[in-house]
């Protein structure tokens, strides 16, 4: 630390002439501190994003290019999409992607509708057993899914839904945490508006659809995004419930590809890029809601 302290007086003067960089409080950030910060930021960037880029680079390297060279070659010599065509010949990767998309879309719809309805009931409608109902969702949130997965599987077998995409969606289709998130969002709305609508003769459904629901759009968006991401990324449950390779989702398909063609790194790399690209695109467009969801989820979790 003492080194940095000594450095301060030396750098302050030239800094005054350079364009001022200020923080959120309008205070100037010193040049040595900026250099240090950006150096660290770039180092962490290389560490977090680098592995994805290496995977992308590997997937674009042709069959004649050495992917094992030392020192490594970071950029493909002759970029080619050949591996993407090959991965589709090896496993039905586009069918798997479609399965993942179906599962994720269904998960989004059921979670948004189901948790908005239940959350509204818990927050706004006073009825016998509301406390018990809230407690049911809180308890359900505390149950570790990994611990009940075998019983979930036997339940699915009893219902005849094992090895189907419906079976993949059902256990998480109305997440208890989403219900509680929606409940809190509804609780934060002022009651007076709905009361006014009630006086004007609006019934429960009208108040829910026209007044309450539009006011919590942000939370619905958070629920939707996390439902999509959760379903698209899920691994353990689809691995257990799906046994027929023609019904695999992308994550299970990738595991299958890795297990069967482990030696073909270019192929696996192309498969992982296909699986991760849609989510990175989604994240790039809707970052705000991703971050908001972390905050809300953590407080409740």
């Amino acid at each position: 630390m003492s080194v940095l302290e000594k450095a301060r007086p030396r750098t302050e003067q030239p800094a005054a002439r350079e364009p001022r960089v200020t923080d959120e409080h309008g205070r100037r950030v010193r040049v040595w501190e900026l250099v240090l910060r950006y150096t660290l930021l770039l180092a962490v960037l290389a560490l977090t994003v680098g592995p994805f880029l290496w995977q992308l680079s590997t997937s674009l390297k042709g069959p004649t290019e050495d992917i094992f060279s030392s020192p490594p070659k970071f950029l493909p010599g002759h970029p080619t999409l050949h591996n993407y065509a090959r991965v589709a010949d090896t496993i039905p990767v586009w069918d798997y992607a479609l399965n993942s998309l179906k599962v994720a879309a269904a998960n989004v719809v059921t979670n948004c509708v189901g948790s908005a309805l239940a959350g509204y009931a818990l927050a706004r409608l006073r009825y016998r057993g509301r406390r018990v109902a809230t407690l049911v969702f809180i308890l359900a949130m505390l149950v570790p899914v990994e611990g009940i997965i075998i019983a979930q599987f036997t339940t699915m077998r009893e219902l005849g839904l094992n090895n189907t995409l419906v079976g993949v969606v059902l256990p998480g289709c109305i997440g208890a945490m989403n219900v509680l998130l929606m409940r809190n969002a509804f609780l934060n709305l002022p009651y007076e508006i709905e009361e006014a609508a009630y006086v004007d003769g609006a019934n429960v459904w009208q108040r829910f659809l026209r007044i309450a629901l539009p006011s919590v759009r942000g939370t619905v968006a958070v629920v939707a995004i996390f439902a999509f991401m959760g379903a698209w990324d899920d691994f353990l449950w689809p691995l257990i419930v799906l046994s027929d390779p023609s019904r695999f989702t992308l994550t299970i398909g990738l595991n299958y590809l890795h297990g069967t063609f482990a030696n073909d790194e270019r192929l696996v790399a192309a498969g992982t890029v296909i699986a991760v690209a849609p989510l990175i695109a989604l994240f790039a467009c809707l970052q705000r809601y991703f971050f908001r969801g972390v905050g809300e989820g953590a407080v409740k979790g």
Partner: protein, 300 residues
């Protein structure tokens, strides 16, 4: 709040007596059938010798007695426990440092914040396979190690290096998530505290320890609780990196991997797998209580 809404709510009930339950019904049904019923049936099954295709009968605590003599169970318990011990300290401290790094609004910082979050968005399968390739005997990291003269390391062939690599991957994937949680907490730290400490001549490290850490302590406890529960239930990272059978001689098997291996398939021992699941429950709850109690003791 509860008192003042009571008369209004009664009017609502008179008006549409069926709708509250109609609203809550889908959520309650799903939660009951797919979460609470499996939870109870896990507890019940753990006392039976049920198999996938055979209903099974009550056997008392026989499954739990068998656990005591099952080497694979102890390996799983050891690995899952080691996972908590290895991953949790890193996930409590590193994201806090990262949050401090991205807290200040310097140009381009939103790009860095988002970029650091990317591993959280990716599926664990993608992350696992990326690192399997990076840590491969002939992969990027070994190429780099060789070109600087260290020589190649068998990250994915040695029992302990495998477990350590999987832990590193868990930390790598979790950094961005906990960074965002810490960022929210840091925003609530009064700036005056830092300034007062700086006036008193405290350096950056000292201010970190005497101002930042106490101010975000409850968040650190939260992160500790979340990450320890998640770490104990680790499955995917180890499954992908060590393989379904859990590395050399199964020595890298974790408890949840053992549940999956024992209880699934047509010959799955549902009863025995449920007994292992019960152990997972008990330890998970114990971990939560332990972390929360540590929090309370610090406060007094």
């Amino acid at each position: 709040m509860a008192l003042s809404t009571a008369p209004r709510a009664q009017r609502v009930r008179r008006q549409l007596p069926f709708s509250p339950w109609l609203f809550a019904a889908p959520g309650l049904l799903v939660t009951g059938v797919f979460i609470l019923y499996p939870f109870v049936s896990t507890l019940v099954n753990s006392l039976t010798d049920r198999r996938t295709l055979i209903p099974g009968k009550f056997v008392g605590l026989a499954n739990f007695r068998e656990l005591l003599h099952d080497d694979m169970f102890w390996i799983g318990l050891r690995n899952s426990t080691l996972y908590v011990l290895g991953v949790v300290p890193a996930l409590v401290v590193l994201p806090l440092l990262l949050a401090l790094l991205v807290q200040k609004n310097i140009p381009g910082i939103t790009f860095f914040r988002s970029a650091f979050y990317t591993p959280v968005v990716a599926s664990i399968v993608v992350v696992g396979l990326i690192w399997v390739w990076l840590l491969d005997e002939r992969g990027l990291i070994n190429s780099l190690l060789e070109s600087v003269g260290v020589g190649r390391v068998g990250f994915l062939s040695d029992q302990w290096l495998l477990l350590l690599s999987a832990m590193a991957v868990t930390v790598w994937k979790g950094l961005g998530y906990y960074m965002i949680i810490y960022l929210a907490a840091l925003a609530n730290v009064p700036r005056e505290l830092h300034e007062a400490a700086a006036v008193d001549g405290a350096g950056a490290v000292r201010r970190f320890l005497t101002v930042t850490v106490p101010a975000v302590r409850s968040t650190m406890v939260l992160v500790g609780a979340l990450s320890s529960v998640a770490a104990f239930k680790v499955f995917s990272e180890v499954y992908l990196m060590a393989g379904p059978s859990g590395g050399p001689a199964g020595e890298d098997t974790t408890l949840v991997m053992l549940v999956q291996r024992t209880g699934t398939g047509l010959t799955g021992r549902v009863g025995y797998a449920s007994a292992i699941s019960v152990v997972v429950f008990v330890v998970t709850v114990a971990l939560m209580l332990l972390v929360l109690r540590a929090d309370r003791r610090d406060e007094t």
